[in-house]
Symmetry: C2
Subunit: 333 residues, 2 copies
Amino acid sequence: MQAQVRDVARLAGVSSGTVSNALNHPEKVSPATRERVQQAIAELGFVPNIAARQLRRGTNDSIGMIVLDIANPFFTAVARGVEERLSGVGRPLVMAHSGQDHEREKAYLDLFAEQRLSGVLVTPVGQVLDRLRRLRDRGTAIVVVDRKTGAREFSSVSVDDTLGGTLATQHLLDVGRRRIAFLGGPERLTQIKHRLGAARRAVEQHGSGEVWHVDSPTLDVEAGRVGAAALLDLPPGRRPDAIFAANDLVALGVLQTLTLAGVRVPDDIAIVGYDDNEFAAAAAIPLTSVRQPAVEMGAAATGRLLEVIEDPHAKVEHIVLSPELVVRRSTVA
Amino acid sequence: MQAQVRDVARLAGVSSGTVSNALNHPEKVSPATRERVQQAIAELGFVPNIAARQLRRGTNDSIGMIVLDIANPFFTAVARGVEERLSGVGRPLVMAHSGQDHEREKAYLDLFAEQRLSGVLVTPVGQVLDRLRRLRDRGTAIVVVDRKTGAREFSSVSVDDTLGGTLATQHLLDVGRRRIAFLGGPERLTQIKHRLGAARRAVEQHGSGEVWHVDSPTLDVEAGRVGAAALLDLPPGRRPDAIFAANDLVALGVLQTLTLAGVRVPDDIAIVGYDDNEFAAAAAIPLTSVRQPAVEMGAAATGRLLEVIEDPHAKVEHIVLSPELVVRRSTVA
DNA sequence: TGAACCGATTGAATCGTTTCAATGTGAGTG
DNA sequence: CACTCACATTGAAACGATTCAATCGGTTCA
């Protein structure tokens, strides 16, 4: 029913091998024949069946990316970096969305394994070491983005969360804040652990002040709203004078709730966000935030991935980028 | 080198046909055998080669989505709707990003055609009717999202842009604005055409006032900044007293630039955005915006797509959803 | 003139799974 | 006891492209 090489071959008056060559090794076919084949392809609307091609070739040029949270501008910025690095390389990028859901993450890793992709960029949610190993053993290159895997057996690109946590906290201390609520979770994320740990250490080192953790199941605007509401429920004397939000989405939620409640930012409570996404600067009160080089991270991870694809035995490398503090009105009047 | 059915079969002491049945038609295999096969699969780390499966089966369960602009929360919200509708259906969603680039759009449509996906959701950028037809002729179901194709031969789900344009403009007129700059482009997008056209008609019908178009090559925050700067360059008497931004990203850029320039919003210039994305309410001055039911659109498009997959001859249907105006501080003090 | 060589083309084998007609094995029935 | 019938299993064919050794036809050169 659907045209295949056979049909194209017949119409062009050549063999199927020649059609294939015209498609994949044009230099092996005389210009005249090539032309006839092209004509026949156009006439029949022939589209090669990639399954057959891939089965025979044994490889798939595509690169897969499992995005942790597509609604978070930070991750879409990472994706932008990936695409930029990939442009002109001739490898399509297919994306899947885990949405922090471990089951979906597993399902997509399995799908990518079945598809025998050349490479996969992943920001793992749960325990997927076994799947990543299987993927690698099947010949798929892997680079971990925005994480370091426990076993460190895969190359990774991440941003120094400890430094980020220190920068934010140090800044809050510098502007005179002492009661800092760290808002966001879940706590098991290494991100959270490192940023929070650094905050605690910074305060400790400073000698005065305190940090406490307000957990949340997710890291979105709603989590910020809920967390801020919980803090407002505290008796005035026990409220924080600063909130360190685990990312900018949370910070925006916090800002919204505080503003609605008549709390003055930064006078009553200062807010520091994390990521410095595109919306941080456009917020009601422009957010002080820890800028993560998201685009650069995506590009670096992709560069590394392409190297691993070329040489599967390339040695494992962990690239760690540095964040920087961007001060805006949410912490200084 | 890599385990295949043959190897699993040998280890489990059965034939390859039985292994395949254990995988795809478990009810045809006795529990004991099924168990042995599972064991062998686990032991060998066997992952079926999807290319071979697909070649034989002739179908691919996956659904593809070509996202127009992954950095725009509106489209990620649409994607969320798609995922929600798809959850539990057992069809993986793979996404590709055209980023408004017609070449990339074509490349991904070709990739999806080669992959023989079950269905594709697409928000077309350029002239792709021929490719969509070819895709359909190859047996891939297609639903157009947030557009109606010229020829109307594909089912679509969109939002009434004329109504949206009318709502926004009527509101601006109601709050006493008369000089309205419509900011955003490119003009060839039907979106833009309809919203702008409706704005012009609303003003005309009202009897007084004027609307003019400030074009932009893209619809992002930067476009808003640039457009607003251009408007500020006008002599005070020729400046608008309201800006109708083609989407919220543009509106945020406008807001940023106006605020930095000391223009009072809404006193000097009112701003209406479009989409009512998650960040509109959290903006420096909360944005009045035309809310588009993005999640619902994604869900509806997916529902339609699943129907077309079931019955390729299902009749073409155009679902048009209605936007609604959300009034916030950027238009009323 | 014949051998050597060259580029273009052919066509059968191949990739790894699924499918399906055929076969085997008991259990149940008259 | 012979005969069905149901169920489990087998094994070879098939999916549609690519590959590669073999062939073809023509040119060049000794």
